[in-house]
Amino acid sequence: MSNIDLLGRRKFIAGLGIAAGAAMVAPAMAVSEKADGVKWDKEVEIVIIGSGFAGLAAAIEATRKGAKDIHMFEKMSYFGGNSAINGGLFAAPGTPMQKTEGVKDSVDRMVNDQLASGRGVADEGLLRHVASHAVEALQMTLDAGSEFHPYLQQLGGHSVARTYQTTVSCGAGITQPLFKECKRIGVNTHNRSKFEGFLVGAKGEVVGVKMRTNYHFGEDQPGKVLNIRAKRGVIMATGGFAQNVDLRMAQDPTLTADVGCTNAPGATGEGMYEMFRLGAIPTHLAYIQSGPWASPDEGGFGYVSNYSIFNLPHSMAVSRTTGKRFMNEIADRKTRADAELENRDEKGNPVPPLLITSFKDSKAHPNTEKVIKYNVGWKFDSVEELATHFGVPLAGLKAQIAEYNGYVKTGEDKQFGKNMTKAAGKYIEAPFTVVRLWPKVHYCQGGVKVNTKAEVADSFTGKSIPGLYAAGEVCGGIHGVSRLGSCSIPECMVMGMTAARSLMKV
């Protein structure tokens, strides 16, 4: 069907898992220890570990609050982590574009949508803190030069359209300007620098870190460990652990190396581990989210993910064996990923479902051309052609299209109760664009427990660990069972800014 080497891709992904595993158990792995009598190689004002949204926002905000000597460390050779390959979708309530488009929204409304998707275990206080400051974070990206599409999107699980997206449809439209801003204001950035442990003072406070320099990810080169003193404190912004196959399987055995992953290779979680060793509270580690808009025809996030996120509200997802719909195309992620995974043949082998969109509506998204050009999506002139290509029963598919178009007309989806607002007037008609859907491991809701000051709670004392702050995906509990799309950028940036504010007050 497609000429893509899926097996080669899978081997590559499996290989990554092994490399990540090996990197974790490197023989010279340092751990946290008492700072007593340690010889300091370097003394700096603020240490930030990780260079994604959380780390970058923390560095800029700390500078605004007067910090002079900030050092950001990144273990990979390149900066940006998951944030640099992210989809560039940014949710905030009460934005200027919502006013222009006449969308009624509020902090409460956004929090309520998130609480519903979090299925009762999300942290309302943290969600409220993030939603209340999301517009400030959006402003920080604008100040640094980020540009956004001139329209809002309504993503799965959101009750209104509140999502901005960068014009390049990628988080790099934010990380690149923020990184340049960091350089401009004099933040010291260090690549190939791997955090390996904390140095702890007499009262259990974090006073510094052990940093392996000249580190080459996945390669056998020892590098050298430096003891770096952080006068004001340490901000951990090391991201999630979706690429650590051992750890994710310990939580959910179905997430083997065979399951794809959208994350950057550096998302291996050792920063989080080290905070647990220090006493941080592990929260919601088992809630690992798969993206229901990914494609089995390319690696990682690729081109299809953003294509489908944009198109799902006015598209029809059907099973290949029946031609029938099987889910609300804009339900929250877990609902959709679970529904997609049920698409299998009698032997239990995956039969990825199809996302069908009218070409005229799909092409409003810049990725549509690329999806077709790079053979990860297809264009068909008739429903017959489409059905033959994928072996879908023609009668079933035709009946489903007619039924669905009825819902487009009435605005009421009697099959799955989908909100049809964004589908208004967008009938499923030839020519069609089609991609295949299959979930990929995407986001770790779990991590260390933090409060609204980005302080890390200690499991034994219940108090915050002095000198230690955490922000971004490395933190857990905020979203609960399932995170809503476009809610991580505001979280990472707001909590990064919060960590900087807290640390500059001490």
Binding site: F12, Y78, Q176, F179, E298, G300, Y303
Partner: protein, 117 residues
């Protein structure tokens, strides 16, 4: 003394074959590298070269010009790409002794026909 010479001989042989191997991937490196590993291995022979090492001879802006793509695909330029701009260290996609995959192939199916690893 004799033993020492044998060991030294073996070490030199090893190094020579490594550098031959490296020059095979990119024959235009032959003249520059010769048998002097230190040309690239500025951090010491047993260490990977620094990220600046290749930049002794190569200029990122020139490379970006050489690999420029059409307006529509302009962000697929490996030396000036959407995600990391011009900031990806050479060794991420290029290895002199062991060929490497382009970083982009983690997520994308587009081809770099002239990429030699």
């Amino acid at each position: 003394m004799k033993n020492f010479n044998i060991i030294l001989g073996l070490v030199l042989l090893g190094l020579t074959s490594l550098s031959v191997q490296s020059a095979e991937i990119r024959d235009y490196h032959k003249d520059v590298i010769g048998n002097d590993c230190k040309t690239c291995h500025d951090n010491g022979i047993k260490q990977f070269p620094s990220d600046e090492s290749c930049l002794q001879c190569h200029d990122v802006d020139d490379l970006a010009k050489q690999t420029a793509r059409s307006e529509e695909d302009k962000w697929q330029n490996p030396h000036n790409n959407l995600h990391y701009g011009k900031e990806v260290p050479c060794q991420e996609c290029h290895g002199e002794h062991t060929p490497k995959e382009p970083l982009c192939s983690n997520c994308h199916t587009f081809k770099f026909d002239k990429h030699k690893g």
